[in-house]
Each structure stands twice: as structure tokens, then as C-alpha cells.
């Protein structure tokens, strides 16, 4: 073992797998650099995950590609900022694979998603119920196969999804509460099935997929600019994060370096998105416990920043500002100076609000101890972003797998360990402060030059993989090009995909009326999950 192998977790795992009689073949050089790719036999798929799990790797996602006679499947693992993609292939006619769900909780739903969209059977899957599929297509149809038409095969009204087998409980005092898909507020649709005893939540089962709108399918055949627009609408509140991840994956496929100024501007856009969404979450968390003061104060600060976005970048939510090769909006010198002042002003406001919130016992009463996600559970689930960081999982792509412009900045990653609503509130508050520091650093060192590099048409089959830290956490994206500068495959993974299951766990034992605040403290994106 070389010294390099000792420190590089990818090499260590590779050797470990080989040592366990698994035929692994590292793809060298990696086609998805900086991520490493390890090819293995389909039969070893489950064993490899079991070994990776004991080695402390986090499971981050799985996707497939229809390659004609075979389906390529890749699972993404991460350890100490190293991304490793396990790769295998199965026959298109009878695709079957061992499941990763026995080793990794996080794999459970994504594998069901692949089952519905590609027809891959996960042989020993603990819960083979459908997930992405409701009633819009048939059980024998697989929308992400190339022979499935994007327009679908059925017309006429889609029937309601009535026969999904929710877990049932029996007993004299257990009752069910069905909630959704249409909820009572201005919020995305999804279904929650509670089993409760008195006011206490005995069990919660999420049923998502209501806003599945075929993003992966309609990405196929787009040009790079079209994909960037679509990526910016995977989850509207994370438009910068997803557009960045999608563009970075395309740029890596094309071998395109973006100008330094573009990278810094992307950083500014991303940090502004983080600030605005964290402000909104702090507001909403206050609102969910009836603390109107906090709701209006944080909401006020958020609106001011939205208006600045419009003034300086031309869009309140910053949609379509990130384009392949760079950014679409430059920051004028006077606007940069104004932004610096605005950052300082927001920090003063936050200082003031901090003391008020901290001294408010009614707020503390509702937040402290509500919706606890233990560090062990967060690690087992692979929770990311503020949900993970409120439960002791100290991972942030900007620091641990840095990309420009963060590779030249010091990224502070706040951590909380209690894992309750309070932790998720305060970790956001601290992340907000860290984002303000990053904004100042970015503004002070804003390089001159072009904001977009001319696009280079990638070779047919060129592929790219990217990970960026969105405001919710780690966003992943994979892109493969078809001939003629067209997208053959796009796979985005929103952090919500891994964080949604955490809500099912952390709400247990809490009272039903605390569900809204528990839900908001996780704030999963329905759209980003359902695609």
C-alpha cells in the first residue's frame, strides 16, 4: 500500500473490495473527475455497499442510464470529501440488482424510483412498493427508457392514486390522519399519513411524487442553455444551486474552464440564495409556533434582499442568472459597494434580533426538544445540509470538496449537536452569518474579466458529474451528452431526497400539532424530490 493509498479513502475502499474477492475495476483516468469511478459486477453490487458502509462511506444517490442492450447503474458514495461512483451494468431485458437498502437507509426510495422509471428489480429490496409512479403510467412502462415516448402512452384524465398500501395499525386507540396532497397553506403538495394515539405521533409515512413532472425525461434532447433553464426549475427556491450543479456537470463534460470572475459571481449568487432562504425559514419557523414578531422581521429582511436581487441581477429569485460557461448578469462596481453595505446592515439587524430571540422563553419552549434527530440516526440516514449539521454531521461541499470560488476561501461550517428544531433553527442562523462573511470575502476579491466563456461543443458521449452546496445542502448532478451538443441524460439529486426520510423519524413521539414546525425545520423540497 502506497502512502497515497493510505490517505485516499477511494483507494482504501478499492483495496478493501478487492481484498473481499470482489472484482473491481477502477476507471483510470476517471471519466467523471474529480469523482472516482469503480466498476464492479452486478452480483457484487450489494456486497460492495455493505463493505463501504462498514468503512464509513455515506450513500448519496443512485441513477441509471438506458444504453441500449444494457442499463448502466451508478451509485454515489462520499467520504471525507471524496466522491466515489460505483458502476455496474444490467441487461435491459431483465434488469435485476441486489439492493443497497440493507446497508443504507438512504437507498430505499431512490431504488424504488429506479424500479418505477427504469424497470430495474432490486432483488432483496425491503420495500418494493412503487414510489415515483402513481397512476400516470402503467406498471410495465418505464418512462426513462429511451423507447418510452416523452409524451406518454395514455391520454385522458389520470385516475386518483387510491390503492397505495400505507402501513396500518390496529388497536382500540390508534387512529389515522391523512393529510394532503393539497395542504392548508401556500405550500407544495404531498401526502402524510399519521398513525396517532391521542395527540402523540406513533408513525408517519410520507407519500411523495405528486409533483413528478418528468424533469429527467424532458431534459433529453435539450441544448446546454435549455438544460440550465430546466435545472434552475428543479426546485424554484434552489434555482442557483441546481443551475450551478447542472452547468458545472456540463462544463466538466465539455472540458470548459469558466472565467474567475464568473466563478466568484456564482458564489455571490449562491450565498445570496442561501441568505434569502435561511431568512425565510427562520421567519416560517417563528410563524409555525405563533411568534409573529419573528415572522415579520425575518420576512422583512428577506424582501429587502429580494429587491436588491432584482435591482442588481434583474431577477428577484435569481433565475436564469447562471448559464453554461459562466453567468448572465455582471455586478457593477457601485452595486458591489452597495451590496457590501447591505451585508453589514443585515448583520447588525441579526445581532439585534439574536438577543430578542434568545431571551424569548416561549420560542425556546416550542423549539427545544421538539423533533429530535439523533446524531446516530442522522449518520445512518446520510442526512445532509442544515438537517445533518444540526445533528452533528459536519459536511459541507464548499469546504470538503471545494470548487471555485470556495477553493480559495475559508468556509466556516457551523455545527449543532442536539438535533432538535432548536438546533435546526440556530444552525441556519449561524450559516446565515457565515454566508455574510463569504459574501464580503467574495466582494473584496472579485476578479476582473469576462463573465462567460464561449461554449465548447462536447464530444458525443462526454459526461460530467458535479457536487455543489446548495442552501439546503449537497446538490449532485450528472450529465451525458448525445451527438450535436444535445443532452442524453440529466440526473439532478436535491438534498431533500436524502433528508425527507429524516422527517418520518424525528417526528415520532411528538404531538401532532408540532408537525408543522418539525416539517418546516427540515423543509424538504417536494419538487426537487419528485422531479
Amino acid at each position: 500500500m502506497t502512502q497515497d493509498a493510505e490517505i485516499n479513502p477511494c483507494h482504501v475502499l478499492s483495496l478493501k473490495l478487492a481484498g473481499s474477492d470482489l472484482a473491481v475495476r477502477p476507471q483510470d483516468p476517471s471519466p467523471l473527475s474529480p469523482a472516482k469511478v469503480l466498476e464492479l459486477a452486478a452480483a457484487d453490487w450489494g456486497k460492495a455497499a455493505a463493505i463501504a458502509q462498514t468503512e464509513g462511506w455515506r450513500w448519496a444517490g443512485v441513477w441509471a442510464e438506458d444504453r441500449g442492450a444494457r442499463l448502466d447503474v451508478r451509485a454515489c458514495l462520499e467520504k471525507q470529501g471524496c466522491y466515489l461512483l460505483l458502476q455496474t451494468a444490467v441487461e435491459s431485458a431483465q434488469p435485476a440488482l441486489p439492493s443497497h437498502a440493507h446497508s443504507y437507509w438512504a437507498a430505499e426510495r431512490p431504488e424504488r424510483q429506479l424500479q418505477d422509471l427504469f424497470g430495474i428489480r432490486f432483488e432483496d429490496h425491503p420495500d418494493p412498493r412503487r414510489w415515483a409512479r402513481h397512476q400516470a403510467w402503467g406498471e410495465a412502462e418505464h418512462p426513462l427508457r429511451k423507447d418510452f415516448p416523452a409524451a406518454g402512452t395514455v391520454s385522458g384524465p389520470t385516475p386518483p392514486d387510491k390503492d397505495y398500501a400505507f402501513l396500518k395499525a390496529q388497536g382500540p386507540s390508534v387512529y389515522e390522519i391523512p393529510v394532503g396532497p393539497v395542504h392548508a397553506g401556500i405550500i407544495e403538495p404531498g401526502h402524510f399519513r399519521f398513525l396517532a394515539v391521542g395527540e402523540t405521533v406513533l408513525h408517519l409515512e410520507e407519500r411523495l411524487g405528486y409533483v413528478h413532472k418528468g424533469i429527467e425525461k424532458i431534459a433529453e434532447g435539450r441544448d446546454p442553455a435549455g438544460l440550465a433553464r430546466l435545472a434552475g426549475r428543479v426546485s424554484g427556491d434552489s434555482t442557483v444551486g441546481h443551475a450551478w450543479a447542472g452547468c458545472m456537470a456540463m462544463e466538466r463534460a465539455a472540458g470548459l474552464e469558466i472565467p474567475e470572475r464568473a466563478a466568484s459571481l456564482r458564489g455571490i449568487l449562491a450565498e445570496r440564495e442561501r441568505v434569502i432562504n435561511h431568512l425565510w425559514d427562520l421567519a416560517a419557523l417563528c410563524n409555525d409556533v405563533g411568534f409573529a414578531f419573528g415572522y415579520y422581521q425575518f420576512g422583512r429582511l428577506r424582501e429587502l434582499w429580494l429587491r436588491e436581487n432584482r435591482e442588481w441581477f434583474g431577477h428577484r429569485l435569481l433565475m436564469d442568472r447562471i448559464v453554461p460557461g459562466g453567468v448572465a448578469a455582471d455586478l457593477a462596481a457601485d452595486a458591489a459597494a452597495k451590496m457590501g453595505k447591505s451585508v453589514a446592515k443585515l448583520r447588525r439587524e441579526l445581532d439585534e434580533l439574536l438577543t430578542i430571540l434568545d431571551a424569548n422563553s416561549s420560542l425556546e419552549d416550542r423549539f427545544l426538544g421538539a423533533g429530535i434527530l439523533s446524531a446516530e440516526l442522522a449518520a445512518a440516514l446520510g442526512a445532509v445540509g442544515f438537517v445533518g449539521r444540526a445533528s452533528g454531521q459536519c459536511f459541507d461541499v464548499r469546504r470538503d470538496a471545494p470548487y471555485a470560488p470556495y477553493d480559495r476561501l475559508q468556509v466556516r461550517v457551523p455545527l449543532e449537536t442536539q438535533g432538535d428544531v432548536s438546533s435546526r433553527f440556530w444552525v441556519r442562523y449561524k450559516e446565515l452569518r457565515a454566508a455574510l462573511r463569504l459574501l464580503e470575502a467574495l466582494l473584496q476579491s472579485l476578479p476582473a474579466g469576462a463573465i462567460v466563456a464561449p461554449w465548447i461543443e462536447p464530444a458525443a458521449d462526454a459526461q460530467g458529474f458535479a457536487a455543489v452546496e446548495g442552501w439546503r445542502g449537497e446538490i449532485l448532478a450528472f450529465v451525458r451528452f448525445a451527438p450535436g451538443n444535445r443532452i442524453a441524460r440529466y440526473w439532478p439529486r436535491d438534498p431533500s431526497v436524502v433528508n425527507w426520510p429524516a422527517l418520518e423519524k424525528l417526528v415520532l413521539g411528538n404531538i401532532v400539532p408540532d408537525f408543522p414546525v418539525c416539517n418546516k425545520s427540515v423543509n424538504g423540497s417536494y419538487s426537487g424530490h419528485d422531479l
Binding site: P157, T355, I356
Partner: protein, 175 residues
């Protein structure tokens, strides 16, 4: 607690007021003027209270953020008699964002059926208007009008709070 009240007084009333045209901050002015006109119609036709039920039928959640924003302290749409309600049974208007996913199609129809007459439907955003970036596919019905009758569409990706209010005024002006 004193600090809390201190902050409230120091913040003051930030809700945007009618200002003379031509002053800085044209958008809020436009918002308030639209709102004043809307209020007159709401007073006359809806006895001062216009109830809206928002339905996300498949949106990326961008439109929801701006619909939320019309309720923040700057816009405070409730002062014009417009408020968002928790049930379609309490609503005069359904504000629907799209594209309508096929998985939400029946839920949207049922929500519409649960809304008492007289009722109106506003399709919000480019996706609700025409399918937007998502269009019609195996998973998406596209425009809201492909599923339920629509009285007005407010385009935009997403429409700004001012555009949302202008849309409401346009619809109510027709009644």
C-alpha cells in the same frame, strides 16, 4: 421583552403607502395603486373580503415564494381585503400554479369541485399559463386550463408580487 417592543417601534410601519408618482421605488407605488383600486372592487363585490385558496398543482415552488411575498409586511395584501384561506370551501378564487402534474390532476379537479359557486380560477406563472419550461408530457398536463376552466392567467417566471396583484385587479375588474 423590552428589546422586542423597542425593535417593533424602531422598525415602524413599513407597509408601502401611496406615494406621488415619479418618486423612487416605482414598483411598490404601482403595487399600492393597484391595491387601492382592487380594494374598491372587493368592498363593492365581495363585502370587503376576497378569499383565495392557493393550489400548487405541480410547480417548482418559485411561484409559491412570490405568492407568499404578497403577504409580507411591505406588500401586506390583506389591507385590500384579500386573504388566503386554508380550504377551497372558503374560497372565492383558486390561484393555481402549474404545470399540472398528472399526479395532481385529480386532486386539482376535486379542489375545484369543492369550491362553492360563484368561483373563479387564476392560473399563476408561465407554467400555469401555458406549461412553461415543462410543457405537456407523460407526467405533465401543462397549462391549468387543460384540467379546469381558467378565468385569467398571470404569466411570469415567477410573476412578481405586483404582477400578481395586477392580475387580481384585472379579474375583479371584469366581474
Amino acid at each position: 421583552m423590552l428589546r422586542l417592543y423597542g425593535k417593533i417601534f424602531k422598525t415602524g410601519v413599513i407597509t408601502e403607502k401611496v406615494r406621488k408618482p415619479g418618486r423612487p421605488g416605482a414598483e411598490p407605488d404601482e403595487f399600492v395603486q393597484t391595491g387601492e383600486q382592487l380594494k374598491k372592487i372587493v368592498d363593492r363585490r365581495f363585502r370587503g373580503s376576497l378569499a383565495i385558496r392557493q393550489v400548487d398543482a405541480g410547480s417548482c415552488n418559485g411561484c409559491e415564494l412570490e405568492i407568499h411575498a404578497v403577504n409580507n409586511a411591505y406588500y401586506d395584501v390583506e389591507r385590500f381585503g384579500v386573504h388566503f384561506v386554508a380550504s377551497p370551501r372558503h374560497a372565492d378564487i383558486l390561484m393555481v400554479t402549474g404545470p399540472v402534474s398528472r399526479h395532481m390532476e385529480e386532486a386539482l379537479r376535486r379542489t375545484w369541485a369543492a369550491t362553492p359557486e360563484p368561483k373563479w380560477v387564476i392560473a399563476v406563472g408561465d407554467c400555469g399559463d401555458c406549461g412553461g419550461e415543462f410543457g405537456v408530457s407523460y407526467a405533465s398536463c401543462g397549462a391549468v386550463s387543460n384540467v379546469i376552466p381558467v378565468d385569467l392567467a398571470i404569466p411570469g417566471c415567477p410573476p412578481t408580487p405586483t404582477a400578481l396583484l395586477q392580475g387580481l385587479l384585472t379579474l375583479c375588474g371584469r366581474l
